[in-house]
Amino acid sequence: MSLIEVVGLNHRYGERKVLENINLKINKGEAFALIGPTGAGKTTLLRLIDLLEVPASGEVYFDGIHIPKSGRQRLKVRRRMAFVLQKPQVFNLSVYDNVASGLRWRREEKDRIDKKVNGILEMFGLEGYRNRNARTLSGGEAQRVALARAMVIEPEILLLDEPTANLDPGSTAKIEQLVSYISEQGNTTIIMATHDMPQGQHLANRIGVLLDGKIVQTGDAEQVFRSPQDEEVANFVGMENIIEGVITANNQGMVMIDIGGAAIQAVSGYPVGEGVYACIRPEDITLALSRTQSSARNSFYGKVTQVTSFGPLSRVEMNCGFRLVSLVTKVSVEELSLQKRKEVYASFKATGVHLIKRRDG
């Protein structure tokens, strides 16, 4: 049975529709990432699940129990969850008192509070900050306190709203490690909102894409990132090569797509004449200086139009009669001396092409 079930949820702020017909089931022990651009409604959905707000319409079920719109039942259910906000929020108290807050509000005994708080401070590497005023901590430390404060109450559901959005890479890595650890223990169901797709990919076992207040796709990382449901999702998940075409042949599932002069081969069941978008992830495109023999069924000659490097990778844009973007290592860029106007062959497998049916097709 689902731990959280959201049925037909709608929400608006004034005249603005924020969430529209959200239906979602989250199972016990699952780590679920809600990904979507800023303003898509991720925070609002988390707030509605945490019962911080009442939806305009629709229902929320917790462990099969229907949550009323008001009354003491909401507090009872809310006490089984914990929410870590995007901006690190700490009370103007010592780290110890911050972490102990939730337990005190649940009227736990002093000895138990002491034991639990000291244990979690140690687990989160915060024992040295015990008596320090939490407001004097850095953003990363404060977010760790916020996470420890949430985890000390042993919530059944941990809601995380962009927990690393305002943090430096070092602090982000620490928080991700902790979330990953919590997830591995399997006692806590995690619902995390993020616009950082790699983070969602490696911390969650299931992902939901929220665009303009609607959940447009749910599935595991592989499904969402490699097989987006429509053009909008493809764009959001970083499918940089989205090429419009029409299927001209289908030979036992191997289709030929005419993309205006050139042809791409892909694996699909779509019939001849179907209008499609051929989506290729940039990391699936390999580059070479000459046409090589390989298993890749698609190989195109083109000229490099731009090389942009970020971190250990470089993004290479090419004109192959149509625009193609490839993501290669910096080493490859150096070895192939990739620069503007360099002639290259871009190759990708037929299985690396994901087809989306065009609505106008």
Partner: protein, 233 residues
């Protein structure tokens, strides 16, 4: 000028020698003002929280009215309490006119708008995210209110200190409802007023110095609180 110098020296002598009359008046002043301030705080802090945490029609207007009464003239309060508790007044039967109790009530009314208004603005200074954090960690409505008050503690304490400062320094209300009865309702401000009009500057100056010292202590305390608040931020 010589008279003033003489008065000043005499006043210092009165303070150093812990003159019984000076000490008695200063003690009474403190007792009445501390009592009125504490009682007003017990009413205004919860009431201010109630106003802050609840949305109702006319909330803005209520806050505007409260702020308007910040500079409520002390004699107006004195007049109101006088009318209320005088023998012919609606609560005349209580027989508390010209007693320290009436003075406490007068001062409470005087500082209520300050305490109420500043409590509301102190709570408004706590971010919405902190309120959400408390609620999401499982705090009930009452526990959330207490948590937010604790966050705003320095600003709320500053409001209480301001209220105390206004209470101990007022003269109009104390004179009208206390009657400045020697050994019973005579406080620092009413004594200064009376003794100065009689030309007895020594006692006035001595009490003036004590009043200024109290104001200084209040001010220092206020500054320390604000310093603590800004450090806490």
């Amino acid at each position: 000028m010589a008279e003033i110098w003489h008065g000043l020296i005499k006043a210092i002598e009165l303070i150093i020698s812990l003159d019984p009359e000076v000490m008695e008046i200063a003690g009474r002043s403190l007792r009445i003002s501390v009592t009125s301030c504490l009682l007003a705080s017990f009413i205004c802090i919860p009431l201010g929280s109630l106003i802050h945490f609840h949305n109702f029609r006319g909330k803005r207007a209520v806050i505007n009215i409260i702020q308007t009464f910040f500079s409520l003239p002390t004699v107006c309060v004195g007049l109101f309490v006088f009318v209320l508790f005088s023998r012919a007044g609606p609560m005349g039967g209580l027989g508390i006119m010209f007693t320290p109790t009436a003075m406490v009530i007068g001062q409470m009314i005087l500082i209520t708008p300050i305490l109420l208004g500043l409590t509301i603005s102190a709570l408004s200074g706590v971010s919405k995210e902190i309120v959400d954090t408390a609620i999401s960690l499982g705090a009930s409505s009452f526990q959330t209110t207490v948590a937010v008050l604790r966050e705003a503690r320095y600003a709320v304490l500053a409001a209480v200190t301001m209220g105390f400062g206004r209470a101990i320094a007022e003269v109009g209300c104390a004179m009208m409802v206390g009657g400045n009865i020697r050994g019973f309702t005579r406080v620092i401000t009413t004594t200064i007023s009376l003794e100065t009009s009689k030309g007895e500057l020594e006692l006035s100056i001595a009490l003036g110095i004590i009043l200024l010292s109290l104001a200084l202590i209040v001010n220092v305390a206020l500054n320390r609180l604000q310093l603590g608040y800004s450090r806490g931020k």
